[in-house]
Symmetry: C2
Subunit: 208 residues, 2 copies
DNA sequence: TGATATACATACATGAATGTATGTATAAAC
DNA sequence: GTTTATACATACATTCATGTATGTATATCA
């Protein structure tokens, strides 16, 4: 058996990426081998090596693949936000995605607990990770600066600081949830936290 | 050269633990070898193997060592809290410790970014990590339930939920700070977040 | 003042993951 | 229809971390 069609080859490439996420999130990046991945998809190491030069390259491709998948969700949720209600809805929808989309959850779990980020691997996935690491509050801050929203904020509240607080809450709750020792309802916790923060950030007359 | 005094041996044991934290946080757990650690302290692998049976055992001892160091700080900050002002001070003091105590910062960085937690390694360090993972909001919740504090909370605020929010904020801000891409002032961000949340959680007449 | 256990250093043996070279059947290009 | 590049499988070579066995000088203890 050899030489499949281009579609078949593309399919095995994707199956490698998915198997990589599965195994990386199960065993950790460093403990999974090309052999593990090949076995998982019913092929040999040769197949994996044909599609990806080495492990860092596979990691970069995998992170890129699922980051884009995540970015699409973020864009889907956080574009065209005009009001506080829409921001709240987007915040919770994005949270719900982490809690309910198994693949996204795996990816977030992998990024949070199953990866040791060396300088080398960071530069390998440089472009994609730069986005993530700048994103969490820049996007939020821009939304909070919209006149329709910032007008409701207390005058002593800095939109950027508020964005940091909201992003911090989101990152922290996700981490606690993914660590999953004391089981929490992620969406409910995010809703409570969001309301509490906004309740403190809004002018008295503009309560949610 | 051989057979040092008991004090000397204890000193090299500690130097191994410290070198382990240094190297683990620099290169990641999986990429550091016993050889690396031995070189760092100017000894051979034999010395490291004499003190620790293998890498998981060393990891467990190292985590135990620095977790206890951290626990002492937490206890130091979070016992005998009676008022909101004291809670705020403790919250910020604990945050400041992560930002300014180099060793604690290294440890938190290691736990957040340089460790892939397999089932095996989790059970190895079971007792210690159980503490950490239950801790973040149980301790906080207990404080928030103190009459002197809960009396100031709005009646629709659940102390436990508030604890989850505060813990989430803390974990998230630390993670963002330790990731350190968009530099933030951790202590200032924690103060702002704390105030904002509390401002939303307190009765109108009990503002900070 | 020996005897013994200690705190290492040194040497070796093993396995396991990596990378590469080679083989091969077949889709695609001409 | 032939050629060629593709999408793998197979085989081999190398490195490297681990673990263990052994050696040894010296605190410690009797």
């Amino acid at each position: 058996m050899a030489r499949k069609t281009k579609e078949d080859a593309q399919a095995t490439r994707e199956s490698v990426l998915i198997a990589a996420l599965d195994l990386f999130s199960e065993k950790g990046y460093s403990r999974t081998t090309f052999s593990d991945i090949a076995k998982r998809i019913g092929m040999t190491r040769g197949a994996v090596y044909w599609h990806f030069d080495n492990k860092p390259a596979l990691l970069a491709a995998m992170v890129d693949y699922f980051c884009n998948l995540r970015e699409e969700r973020v864009k889907q949720h956080f574009t065209e936000i005009q009001s506080l209600e829409e921001l709240r809805a987007a915040f919770l929808e994005h949270t719900r995605a982490v809690a309910e989309d198994k693949r996204l959850k795996k990816f977030e779990f992998f990024m949070a607990f199953q990866m040791e980020w060396s300088e080398e691997l960071l530069t390998e996935t440089h472009k994609i990770l730069d986005k993530i690491r700048k994103d969490p509050f820049e996007k939020l801050a821009a939304i909070l600066r919209l006149p329709s929203i910032s007008g409701q904020l207390r005058t002593d509240i800095d939109p950027r600081q508020l964005a940091v607080t909201l992003a911090g809450l989101w990152v922290g709750l996700c981490k606690i949830y993914l660590g999953a020792c004391p089981k929490i309802d992620l969406v409910a916790a995010a809703a409570d936290g969001f309301d509490c923060i906004m309740n403190g950030a809004l002018k008295k007359e503009a309560g949610i």
